[in-house]
Amino acid sequence: MALYRTLLSRAALATFLVHATPLYAETVFRLDASAPGEADPDKGIDYIGSVLAFNLYDALVVPGQNGTPVAPHIATGWKIDGNDYVFTLRPDIKFHSGHVMTADDVVFSFKRLMALGKGNSPLFADRVASVTAVDPQTVKFTLTGPYAPFLGALVRLPVLDSIFLLAHKADGKFGDMGDYGEAYLSGHDAGSGAYMLVSHVPESETNLAKFDGYFLGVPSSAPDKVRIRYGLQPATVRELVASGQQDMTSQWLPPEVMRALAGRSDTHLLADRGSNILFLHMNTQKPPLDDLNCRLALTYAFDYATAIKLAQVTDKVSAASPASGPIGRSEFGFNASLPLFGQDIGKAKDYLAKCKYKTPDEREIDITWITEVPAEEKIALLMKANFDQLGFQTTIKGAPWTLYTQQVTKVDSTPSLSEVYIDAPTPDPDSILYNMYSSKSPPTWESASHLVDPEADKLLDAGRAETDIAKRKAIYEQLDARLDAVAPAIFASEVSGVFVGLNTFRLPPFEDDSKRFSAEEYGLQFRLVEMLK
C-alpha cells in the first residue's frame, strides 16, 4: 500500500511538473514612452514614433557607428553622379506580408511621404526632382540641385509594402491611391522590420512581436514580444520598475526619480547619446544681444558646471555633458579642437565692458522656457542668477510649446534668450544647423537667434554642395568654430537620453560607446536587446 501511495504521489508530481514547465518561455520587453505613439512611420517624428519606425520598417541607409554618418542597409551600395543618386537594393528582403521588396516599394514610399506632407517630409521638400525604379533592384533619385545631406536624410525614409498597403487603402484625397493607407497604418504596419505590430492603441499601448523572416536575422536573445505603454505618470513608472513589472523607463523621468531607481541593486542606467544639444538661443537682432560682446559676456557668465549637475542622475551618470559648440561629439563634423565651454567671470566682465549697452535699462533681457519641460525652469533660474550677477536685468517667463513656436518666428516677439533642446533628425549636421543659422532659411521654431552671418551662410551652403565626405567634415568643423565665435546661442550642454533598466536585459548601443549609432533613437532597436532571463 505504501509503495502504491509513493508511486501515485510521484506520478502526480511528474504530471504537475510537465504542465508547470512550458516548453518555450516567451520573453517580453516592457517599457514606457511619452504619448501619443504614432505607428505611421510617415507621421511620427518624436522619440517613440522614430523608435517604432526603426523597428517596424527599414530604410535604404541607416545611421552608422564609430563616426560613420550612414551605413548601407536595404541598399547594398550607391553611386552619386551629379544630382543623380542610384541605389542597388538587396534582393532577399521580405515584408511581414511575405511580399519581396523591390524598387517600386521605394518609389511608392517616397511618393507617399511627400503626398502626406507630414513627419519627415520637410527633409526632402523641393530637393527631389524625380524618383524612378530602374529595375526591381535599382532605384534612382534625381535631385533638383546639389544637396549632400540627402544621403543622411534617407535614414528617415522607411520603405513600405506598396502591394499590401494599397490592398488596404480607403477612399481618400489622393486619387488612385485613395488615402494612401493612412487609416490602416494608424493601427497596423506594412513593413519589413525586425518586429511586427500586433496591436496599437495611441496614447495607451503598443504590442510588437518578433519577425522571424527578418533579412538580417533576429538573435534568439532578443525579446519575443515588446510592450510599450504611453503617458504613465513618473510615480507609476517608478513603482512598476521597482516591482519588476517594467523593464525600462523612458528618458523623460525626472532626475530625482531616476536617482531613486538607480540606487537599487536590481537596476542599471542606459544612455542614448545622440546629437541633442541644449541651446540657449540669443536673439541677435534685438538689443542688447545684437551686440556680439554682450552675447559673449553671457556665454562666459553661464554656469555650465551647475547646469550639468542639475541633470545629474548618479555621481557617475548625468543626462548632460559639457559641449564645445553646436555639433555634438558623436555627430559628423564635430570639431575636436574646440575647448569645452566653462564659466569664466573675468572674461565675461571683459566682454561686457566692450558691449555698447552700458546702463541697467539697456541691459534688460527676457528669458523664455518651455513649460512642458520642467527641467528648463531650473536652467532659466540658473541663467537669471548668473546674468543678474553680471549686471543684466533679467526676467523669466514660461511659455507653452505652441506659443513659443509662434513667438520665435518673428524678431520682435522673440525673447532675448530662449531655451530649447534640439536634436538632429538625421546623422547629418545640416538637418539642424541650416534651418537654425542660415539667413536664407525661412524663420522656424529652430531659428530663435535670427542670425545673419555671411561666413556661416557660406559654410552652410558649402556643406550642402560638397559630396566628398572628408571635405564635408572639414566644412562642418569650420562651421562649428565659426558659430562659437559669433555666439548665436549658449551651447549649454550635450544632452543624453538616460534610461533606467532592470538587470533583466542589456542594450549594447546604449551601454557600449563602440556600439553607439550616429543618430538618436536608432540604438533602441529591440533586436539588439539581450534578454538575460
Binding site: 505618470q233 513618473p234 510615480a235 517608478r238 525626472p254 530625482e256 526619480v257 531613486a260 551647475t306 549637475k309 542639475l310 513649460t371 520642467p374 525652469e377 531650473k378 532659466a380 533660474l381 540658473l382 537669471k384 542668477a385 526676467t395 523669466i396 514660461g398 507653452p400 506659443l403
Partner: protein, 282 residues
C-alpha cells in the same frame, strides 16, 4: 458690540465646536496670507529663484517642510500660495456674486418672460460640469491665474442667480414688498432696498462656503496646468508637480494637499456654522 456678543446667533455659533474650528482655521490662513512677507522663512523663494544647493531637502533642519526640486522652501511657498488662493476666491466671488444676484432678482421679481429667459440661460451654464466649462474657457486663453479667475467666474455666477431667484420668488409675496409697490417705489428700490437685504444672510452664508470651493476648483485647474504658472506658488500646481516624485519626495505632494484640506475644510465648517447661527437668529 454688546448686541452682537449677546445675540442668539453668535451664542449658538460659539457653542458649535466645528464652527469655531472652522473660524480658527480660516483666521490662521487669512493671517498667514496677509502677513506672508513677515512670517515666511524665505520670502524670496516665492519668486524666480533657485537654491541649487538645497534641492529636494526633506522636512526638518533649515526647512521645516522641506524644499522642492529647485531648492525652494516649501513652507514659504505654501504661505504665498494661500495668498494667491484667497485673492482668487475674493476676486471670483466679488464678480460672480453681483452678476448672479442681479440676474436672480430680475428673474424672480419680473414677469414670466424675464423669468423664463434668464433662468433658462442660467440652466444652460449649470448644465455644463463646472470644471469642464472652466477648462473650455481657459482652452481659448493662455494659462494664467487671471484667465483662471475669468473661467471660474463664468461658471460661478449661475449658482447665485439660482439661489437669489428662489429667495426673490418667496419674498415678492411678502407684505413689505406689496406695500412698496402700492406706494409707487421704483424697481431698483424694491429690488435692492427691499428684497435684497432679506436675501443677504443666505447669500453671505453661501459665499463663505464657496470660498473653499473656489479654492478647490482653482487648485484643480492648476493641477491640470490651467491656472497660475511657475514660478508663482499655487496649491494645485504644487500637488501636481510633487506627484511626479512620489513616494521618495512625499512632502512635495502631501503638504500642499494638507494645505488645501485645511483651507477648504475651514471655510466649509465656518459656512455651516454661519448658516446654523443664522437659522437660530431667525
Amino acid at each position: 458690540m454688546t448686541w452682537f456678543a449677546d445675540s442668539p446667533g453668535w451664542r449658538a455659533f460659539r457653542r458649535d465646536t466645528m464652527a469655531m474650528t472652522g473660524l480658527t482655521l480660516v483666521a490662521l490662513v487669512v493671517l498667514a496670507a496677509l502677513f506672508a512677507d513677515w512670517i515666511a522663512p524665505y520670502p524670496s523663494h516665492a519668486g524666480p529663484i533657485g537654491d541649487f544647493g538645497a534641492m529636494g531637502a526633506p522636512p526638518g533642519g533649515r526647512f521645516l517642510l522641506g524644499t522642492d526640486t529647485i531648492g525652494r522652501d516649501l513652507l514659504t511657498r505654501l504661505i504665498y500660495a494661500y495668498r494667491l488662493s484667497l485673492e482668487m476666491a475674493i476676486v471670483v466671488l466679488a464678480i460672480a456674486t453681483p452678476i448672479g444676484v442681479v440676474v436672480g432678482l430680475l428673474a424672480g421679481y419680473l414677469g414670466p418672460a424675464w423669468s423664463y429667459g434668464l433662468m433658462r440661460l442660467t440652466d444652460v451654464f449649470l448644465s455644463i460640469p463646472p470644471l469642464v466649462l472652466a477648462m473650455s474657457i481657459t482652452g481659448f486663453l493662455e494659462p494664467s491665474a487671471i484667465h483662471g479667475m475669468i473661467a471660474i467666474t463664468a461658471m460661478w455666477w449661475p449658482w447665485y442667480a439660482r439661489l437669489t431667484y428662489n429667495l426673490t420668488r418667496a419674498e415678492r409675496q411678502e407684505g413689505y414688498v406689496v406695500a412698496a409697490e402700492i406706494v409707487g417705489a421704483s424697481l431698483p428700490h424694491i429690488l435692492f432696498r427691499e428684497i435684497l437685504p432679506n436675501c443677504m444672510p443666505s447669500i453671505l452664508t453661501k459665499m463663505t462656503v464657496d470660498v473653499g470651493f473656489v479654492i478647490l476648483i482653482a487648485s484643480s485647474m492648476s493641477f491640470l496646468g490651467l491656472g497660475a504658472q511657475a514660478p508663482t506658488p499655487d496649491l494645485g500646481s504644487m500637488v501636481a508637480d510633487g506627484a511626479k516624485y512620489m513616494p521618495d519626495a512625499w512632502w512635495l505632494t502631501v503638504f500642499p494637499a494638507i494645505a488645501i484640506l485645511i483651507v477648504v475644510m475651514g471655510f466649509n465648517l465656518l459656512g455651516d456654522g454661519l448658516r446654523e447661527a443664522a437659522d437660530v437668529a431667525r
